[in-house]
Symmetry: C2
Subunit: 239 residues, 2 copies
Amino acid sequence: MDEQIAQDSTPIFQRIKDFLLGEIASGRWKEGDLVPSEQALVRQFGVSRMTVNRAVRELTAEQVLTRRQGSGTYVAPQKYQATLVEIRNIADEVHARGHVHASRPRLLEQSPAGEALARQFDLAPGTTLFHSLIVHDENGQPIQVEDRWVNPECAPAYLDQDFARITPNEHLMEAAPLQGATYSIEALPAPRDVAEMLDVAPGTSCLVLKRRTTSNGRVASVVTMWHPGHLYKFTGSVG
Amino acid sequence: MDEQIAQDSTPIFQRIKDFLLGEIASGRWKEGDLVPSEQALVRQFGVSRMTVNRAVRELTAEQVLTRRQGSGTYVAPQKYQATLVEIRNIADEVHARGHVHASRPRLLEQSPAGEALARQFDLAPGTTLFHSLIVHDENGQPIQVEDRWVNPECAPAYLDQDFARITPNEHLMEAAPLQGATYSIEALPAPRDVAEMLDVAPGTSCLVLKRRTTSNGRVASVVTMWHPGHLYKFTGSVG
DNA sequence: GAGTGGTCTAGACCACAAT
DNA sequence: TTGTGGTCTAGACCACTCC
């Protein structure tokens, strides 16, 4: 058993993963099929069970396989395509394109939460919130209106930031460790004030990302980001 | 060492993960900080190194920690929020809302690929492709126009399907095991023909998802899905 | 009861980094 | 040279499923 298969240095558990993935990719094993047991793989590869276990466990974590104790290991059902949209700091995103980013704060205030906003923050109506409204430019052209409300308990120094220099995103990442988020992406016509800030005609199609983030069990921030539909898109890849 | 800590049945490796996550969540360990070595954790928890290793390895796979061989384990840099949009079969999605889904095929043909399309498929211009145009209704109201081009080599029986009964998505998942995808999400005004099919005014804001999927190393399908902006959004959560 | 996965041990050898 | 992570072994006990 000592005879490390050597030759190439790919770890054994990885080779077992590759073997299993290959059987599935080739279509020899189809979804729902029973996969050889750990014991069988131990014999097949002449390795210890822990090594086989790691390979199979990792593929299970990656949702390639499913396991049922006492029963066996199966090829996982085909998953629907998951589209991963990485929400990055707008400034970094623009820089990554080799372009110039600028922030133009238009409003920075504290304001009592209205009915709907209070509900989103899970706070009593009338609670004081921070509010910022910032236009982000790429090469001098507006590409995002960021309308953000912030829970003062999560980021007490929010209003003291220089949002021409750093983005709210950056400050919040520092101040309030991100726990989770819910979001929606929709297409809406630009209302008059947003249209003016984006330098487009009112009613222009906009790509709107709304996001509500939580930190330490509290709702930290509720933000609506408006992007002109003809200038901005979310892109990505999977697989 | 036998004295299984018993009490509760949480696996030891999970408790170690919880401990490490707790130190980070509480802010006691900050990003970039050095995390105790495996040896140190072995002593701290009085368990074997393999157990500690599993905890730390899994947190590394989950991007909570980073490791450098010979150096140590560190708290990973804060990641940007990743927004996961699960692209599901439109029929399942509608059913999940307890609503009625209907497909209305409007066009089903084979057609030579134009310049731009050929480039997307990585095929020679003029190559024959399959083309379908389907309107999807939710409770009788149009919510998606699906304009799809398919590589005949990946799904030779595509045109023989009854797309009033099954969705192209379903057939393709069968015929061509999904390998990967690139996509974009944007907001565009509805052109006249799409507007007519969606039963909205031309120029209405639409949420447009374009996706290009590959199977067995070939581009299998290029699809553009139009949704009325006021009726459809992508939603989800992370964390 | 036989077979499966879930977990854990107490060692081991290696590659690599810091010193 | 010392300490780190990366991997692997050859056992073990347990909970669960299936027959």
